[in-house]
């Protein structure tokens, strides 16, 4: 099922790539890579879950944040290494990877749970989970701007990856508990804080 969704979503976007150039082309390209990351993480997660026989809750709180964040970390790393280390470009493509990942995850969950999803589910997944994936990938992407300052990069990137995994873990922990609403609210609040502080710094 996951490959059928992947083909039906990624192929039209891939066709769009030939009509674009510059940063918009990068953004669409990295959305497709984000979708591919979601497929890879689905495969790796399933393998780990079945091999170690982990419960659903433990898996969502302790394992999936680590695997998903590490996989999402790869495309911005290569972009930083091979294309550009400019902050504006890297933040754009990192957010695109996160959003692409969230799109694929949302469609997959919608297809397998289509009998009991509702508008609240769509709003929650749309605003909260997408933002969470976008924010965590952007945080790691920020570290890529230091990719050519070796001394700062090697140590800083581990710190940023740890921060994004922890953030993802907090979100999953809250969403899986009775405090689901707080979990949903956290990415939205973080996004607003980042927007406001970025505007303040620019001013």
């Amino acid at each position: 099922m996951v490959y059928i969704i992947f083909i039906s979503v990624a192929v039209p976007l891939f066709m769009l790539l030939f009509l674009m150039d510059g940063q918009p082309r990068n953004i669409v390209g990295f959305v497709i890579l984000g979708i591919a990351c979601a497929v890879s993480s689905y495969e790796i997660n399933s393998l780990i879950k079945h091999t170690y026989n982990i419960t659903d809750f433990n898996f969502k709180v302790f394992i999936s944040p680590v695997t998903e964040e590490l996989i999402k970390f790869i495309p911005p790393l290569f972009f930083g290494l091979l294309a550009s280390d400019k902050r504006k470009n890297i933040i754009g493509v990192s957010m695109a990877v996160g959003i692409g990942f969230a799109v694929m995850e949302n469609i997959y969950l919608l297809v397998i749970n289509c009998s009991y999803v509702n508008i609240f589910w769509a709003l929650m997944r749309g605003f909260s989970t997408s933002l969470m994936h976008g924010i965590t990938t952007t945080v790691v992407g920020l570290g890529m701007t230091f990719i050519h300052k070796k001394k700062l990069f090697y140590t800083g990137i581990f710190g940023l990856a740890s921060a994004s995994i922890t953030y993802h873990g907090i979100y999953n922990l809250l969403v899986e508990s009775k405090y689901e609403y707080i979990g949903i609210f956290i990415p939205i609040l973080t996004y607003l804080v980042i927007l406001l502080s970025a505007r303040k710094i620019t001013d």
Binding site: L160, S162, T166, G169, S177
Partner: protein, 229 residues
Amino acid sequence: MDSQKNRVRMGECFGLNLTVEFISLLCSLFAFIYGAHVSFKNRGALFLQIITCAFGCFSLGNLYDLCYFVCMERADYSFNIGSLGYLGGMFFLFSSYYGAMDRIGDNKSKSLVKYKVYSLLLSSMNLILCTIMMYGANFNIFLFVSSVLSSAVLYFAFKHLFLPDIENGILKVMKQYNLLIISLCVIKNLYDISCLYSSALSPYLKLLLCTITIFIMPQAVKGVKKWST
């Protein structure tokens, strides 16, 4: 009667732990917000920006611990996702020394080698003691990685504490900051080990960590202000 007493004691423990988790989150958030306000608003020193990121990671670790405690109604003292936040914080502290501050304080001259040896000895001693104490309980590879990292941070903190001032008194103004970092690393290691032994000391050590956390960022800002004026 006994079970009633036990329940009361467990309730007290829950209350104490919840308060400690909440206080530690507030303290690290204070350090993070204060650091962000000072270092990012006016494009401050890179050194301060990296320390701010470290406290951001510590805040995430503390937030995870608090959320876990509230959701599960018990603390998780094993290595968990929250521990990655603390590990990330240690990576940033290491980065602040290795990538930003060390080149200012160390001019690589031969006369400074003895200070580096002293620092290396002290930080290695910390690592050896931590490893021995961990072997007494359940040896945990992630906690070992954490103590390796804190020993690396300790090496630079000791080095900058011992090195004579070679440039404009920068190391002199950062002495108090380095002392605070040394105490942070040592108490963090003690806290990790006390958690391994499920010791009743853990919440008190965490409170001590909070107290140190509050003072680190203002001290770093004070030091950086002195060296930039």
